[in-house]
Amino acid sequence: MIVEMTATALITFGAPPTWGTSAEARFVAKQIEEVRRQLQSSYTLGLDRRIFDDLCSAADTAREPDWDGYGAEPVSQEAFTLAYRFAESLPLGTPSPAITAEPDGQLAFEWYRSPHRTLSVSVSPEGDLHYSALLGPNKAYGTEVFFGEPPRAILDLIRRVHSA
């Protein structure tokens, strides 16, 4: 029951980015994070484990220079580590993205409904999240710094891509 309640709370997009500064708050935050990790390991709740397999596969494809035949840069360890952390940070219930490598060696997460309703988020080795979305006749793009939690702007765009 406790786990169910915790999961329900966590499934909501945009969990609070901070958990307070008291020892108790930090303990609770740590416990929640642990449960979240366990839930994300589940095949029935949370992100599909395939996201992490896809991440490894994308990085592996792009591990050598010029992996695309057009002079692409390889994915660095820093880029992979930050992309992994970004994947881990996604709230439970987030639709699973496709993951690919880009010519500059960054890994990109794509949420897609149609060619004109799609979001791509690139994770740079410096910790920047470069995002761009096509939302029918509208578009949105920009950069957010990744501090361990997915920025609200990106979570909102994921929701907009997948909303009716």
Binding site: W67, G69, G71, P103, P115, S132, Y141, G142
Partner: protein, 138 residues
């Protein structure tokens, strides 16, 4: 091949091809991902003009592109018209190279990554994936 000689200036309704050398550039529904159109560091995105090329000549060039520096696989081409490029504020400039007189660059890219991604998404949405004849990938 009759691919050499003076080629006419690039026209708005002219088709271009971006040879697809990475399987993940194509989604399961056969639409193109932005990844195929993210520009390289020098901001000159390589494409090939279809003009004066037979289908056979076109795919021979594609294979040469895939084999040029590294033995990547040729999956097909992402085709789009010059008008779609111009609509995104970019230009197509002929850039002939040995073995590919139809080679051109899509230029005029913004410097910041998010804006590049946005244009790449638009170009991907405007393009059509044409699989390599007889190929079952991706």
């Amino acid at each position: 091949m009759s691919t050499t000689g003076q080629l006419p200036p690039v026209s708005a309704d002219e088709p271009l091809a971006r040879f697809v050398t990475v399987g993940s550039w194509v989604r399961a529904d056969k639409t193109m991902r932005q990844d195929a159109f993210i520009p390289p560091k020098d901001l000159n995105l390589s494409v090939t003009r279809h003009i004066r090329l037979s289908q056979e000549q076109f795919w021979i060039i594609g294979q040469a592109v895939a084999n040029a520096r590294r033995h990547t696989t040729l999956f097909g081409s992402a085709d789009l018209v010059v008008f779609a490029v111009a609509k995104s504020g970019l230009r197509v400039e002929p850039a002939p190279i040995p073995g590919n007189p139809q080679h051109a660059h899509i230029t005029g890219w913004p410097l910041d990554k998010p804006a590049q991604k946005n244009i790449a998404q638009e170009l991907a949405a405007a393009s059509t994936f044409v699989p390599l004849p007889g190929d079952t990938h991706p």
